[in-house]
Amino acid sequence: MSFLAPLYLLGLGAISLPIVLHLIRRMPKGRYAFSSLMFLAPSPPRLTRRSRIDQWLLLLLRALAITLLALAFSRPFWRAFADAPGPLQQGRQVALLVDTSASMRRGDLWEQAVARVRRVVEGLEDPDTVALFTYDSQLRPVVMWPDGLSVSESANRAIILQRIQQEQPRWEATDLGQALLAVGDYFEQGNGRAARETHRQIVVVTDFQRGTDLTALQRVAWPEDLPVALETVSSADQGNATLRVVPAEDESPSDPVRVRVTNEQGSVNDQFHVDWVFADSPAGDQPRVPVYVPAGQSRVVRVPPSRGQQMPTGVRLTGDDCPFDNTWHVAPVPRRSWLVVYLGRDQADDPDQLSYYLHRALTDAPGYDVKIVEQFEKDRVAAPGAPVGHLVVVSRPVDEAMLDDLMDYVTGGGFVLVVPDSDEAARNLAPLTPGLRYREAESSTSDDDYALLADVDYDHPLFAPFQGVRFGDFTKIHFWNRWVYDVEPDATGRPLARFDRGGPALWHETLGDGQMLLLAGTWRPRDSQLALSTKFVPLLDGLLELVAPRMVTPGDLRVGDPVALREGEKQVVLPDGTLVEVVDDQWYRDTREPGIYQFLSANMTRPVAINLARTESQTSALPRERLEQLGVTLGSVPPPSVTEAHLRQLRATELENQQKGWRWLLLTVCGLLVIETWWAGRQARHGMKSLGAQVPQNDGSAS
């Protein structure tokens, strides 16, 4: 016989209560007031007839009634004939997710996480199966559930404990939502074998910081039978602060760099410093800017440009407890330079000639330098995006060989500006522009007889800076002498500007890989006002940009973001100095840590800065209710032993409900009480008769 509520058997102790109370002491019922106790002494209670048990039958009846009542309350049942074995123990299928995002680099969070994993694995019971995943911006299965054939569960757990020791936190952002969905898919797919029969459980070991991305969970309804247990680890640091460079639209290398410093909520520190970081050498006497940022706020501070020749690779924040996000990498912009080959017959110091103004306009400037030479080498073709741009300016007549060389140069990717200085030169150089046919030279006889620029193509990059009404006025530029060309019907080039008297003024033609630009005039003061106008220098600058466009480095790339590759980039130098080959020809995807990545091509190096995701710096803890708000079931599946005990209890309840032994016991109790009442009444009457007028004393023995 078993009992559903065996604790009620304690009620059996009530049997002894009346006996014990009766035998221990029979305290007088009433109190008697007396004038003085000065002549009295306490009397010991006497053992009288009242102290002896003389109604044995009554006592037995009442004790039996109490016993049966206690038995009835403890809900007895017989399991001998119905105690069939229950279903086999079903273990849990546990997926262990460990956060390896950058924020786990704080303090001893990772050690805590490893210890937590060990505790979870060691707390599993025999029928349970467990798999280990790590996640940051993506989910990585580390050890899958055992298939039962090659690896046993115990071996699997040993592997998990071994592998978690080898894991390290990475630099990527935290996307817990995506990771949970992916693990859910693993459960649903073949990896979650017999998924429907087992109890599934996800255990997430994470710091659950505010920057955790949970948006993926908004898309789906989380299954109710897949509870998630959060094992959060917390750091004892006193807050975190981070920084990032605010990009400026028209920054100049001499301008201060704007840096936004953000201090996390609840941070204790509020005084920080920002300084430059250099690849090889320490900062030295570089400026160190103090900044005060209260907790939960951000400030923008202007950091003066670094001094010296070496380009800084980033800015650094000092003064907070968590250094993992204290450096913002900035790709050093290489100094641009141009090599201009001038093929002319004039001297650079003659103010009436072309070269003089070319030298004056193309001088070194902050951020780039220009070198003008007269030696032409047809192999000196700059690749697009090369740090050194090559421009050939031709103004004099050249021989046939040179013409061929120039043509080869252009078709090979070179850039040539043709500015014929004479009718002869115009005629000589005409083959360089196949789309034009030279007609004649037009010279004016008076100052008032001039040609103006018209139909300027402001959409072309060369004229794009003059697009505004205030800047697009070219009517002040008079051309007295010009070369008149006719456009061939099948010309592939197009005029960027025309003369109001007809004919192209500036012709652009793409030949092969290169480009040809022809000015149907000169900037000599006697020919036109172009060199003396305010448009001349911007036009030549635009020309240089056209030759070698400014290298636009992708800004704001985060760890894990793919970097678009440029033509010819086959190797990458990682921030730690490792040289790796690029396998893809479109993207480089292995940006696994923040720093400066050097993309190498045949003749140039392109630095790209990869930074930490901004969300990783938001280190204050999220409330775990946030997951519940998104519909995720939080909680733990009880271990199989608990489940088994629960099932056993359920079976016992069912058996007891079928047998209902307590009803018979209660019925017996009622019968016993009836007999007891009848017997007690009979004894009382008998006692009254025998004792006459005395007070009956038949009750004390058992009641």
Partner: protein, 330 residues
């Protein structure tokens, strides 16, 4: 009264047969008005007194003495001078105004009673009776009620309304938590300078050590002292009906008492206490009487007064006092 015979009761006069019954105390206590109750009792024993051959307290001639210069000429006996032609002054026994103080114990132990009335009621009635009786004789009566301290103090007076105030003071119920017999005795000794009669009504259920001292002090001041011990018959024989938790009325202390087993020891200790009290009274020439509450009050008082009268006669003869006015009473 039979088993607690007092000094007085031992040589009581044999009253007339109709007086033996006395007034039933149960009937007497049903009279609510204390003054009327006292009057009933006084009427009862006065009739007994009048029937007695001994005629009570009056100014009595003592002796003649030859006049010597300095004597008050008002006391010269002019008749004797007329007959003898000599000057004599008359001397009298001083039985003038009696100053009587009734000291009534109203502690909680006096609230005990196995009869329909308690000891306090009985003592109150006795005190009221004595006061009324004395006031009839134009004696000044004072009252001190006490428990562990003095509760009421009325100086001895003889004037209209005084007896009524005294009755009102007596009607207070017992409240005190202890009995300190020496307190009223000290009070009387310190405030009453003239000699008088002090009647202490108490159950005397208290320690007797200090009582002896204070009785002696009073006696040495010349006061007559009568100690009337009021007892309930259940106190004398420990008549507790069944074993019970017995609670001390004064202290509230309780313990279990089985009367059958405790009775013998109780009675022995009670007797020892009573005999010690009696010895103290004897030693200081204090009249002592036990008033048991189931005895008729008029009988008890009659015996008391009768015995006192007899002792008073002896006392007068033994203790001559000063000269008083020829009229005896003022």
């Amino acid at each position: 009264m039979s088993n607690s015979s007092s000094e007085i009761g031992s040589d009581r006069p044999s009253p007339s047969p109709e007086r033996v019954a006395g007034i039933d105390p149960l009937t007497l206590m049903r009279i609510r008005n204390l003054e009327f109750r006292a009057k009933v009792v006084v009427d009862g024993f006065l009739s007994g007194l009048h029937r007695s051959p001994h005629h009570g307290f009056s100014v009595e001639f003592s002796e003649y003495r030859q006049y010597s210069p300095g004597d008050d000429p008002r006391y010269l006996d002019w008749r004797l001078f007329a007959r003898t032609d000599r000057y004599y002054v008359k001397r009298f026994q001083d039985e003038t105004n009696l100053r009587c103080y009734l000291l009534v114990d109203l502690s909680r132990s006096m609230a005990y009673g196995s009869l329909p009335y308690d000891k306090a009621e009985y003592a109150r009635t006795a005190a009221a009776t004595l006061a009324y009786f004395l006031s009839l004789q134009r004696d000044a009566v004072g009252l001190v009620t006490f428990d562990e301290r003095i509760r009421d103090y009325l100086p001895a007076r003889y004037r209209a309304g005084h007896i009524h105030r005294l009755m009102l003071a007596l009607e207070q119920s017992p409240t005190g938590k202890a009995t300190r017999l020496e307190i009223p005795l000290e009070q009387v000794a310190s405030t009453v300078r003239k000699r008088g009669l002090v009647i202490l009504l108490s159950d005397c259920l208290a320690q007797l050590d200090s009582l002896e001292t204070h009785l002696g002090y009073l006696r040495s001041q010349g006061h007559e002292v009568i100690l009337l011990r009021v007892l309930d018959p259940a106190e004398i024989s420990l008549s507790i009906p069944h074993p019970a938790l017995v609670e001390d009325l004064e202290t509230g202390r309780t313990f279990y008492v089985d009367p059958d087993s405790a009775r013998a020891e109780y009675e022995q200790r009670f007797r020892e206490h009573a005999s010690r009290l009696r010895r103290i009274c004897l030693a200081w020439d204090v009249d002592f009487a036990s008033l048991v509450t189931d005895q008729p009050l008029d009988m008890s008082l009659f015996e008391l007064l009768h015995a006192r009268w007899r002792r008073g006669r002896k006392m007068v003869s033994r203790k001559p006092s000063g000269v008083s006015a020829a009229g005896g009473r003022r």
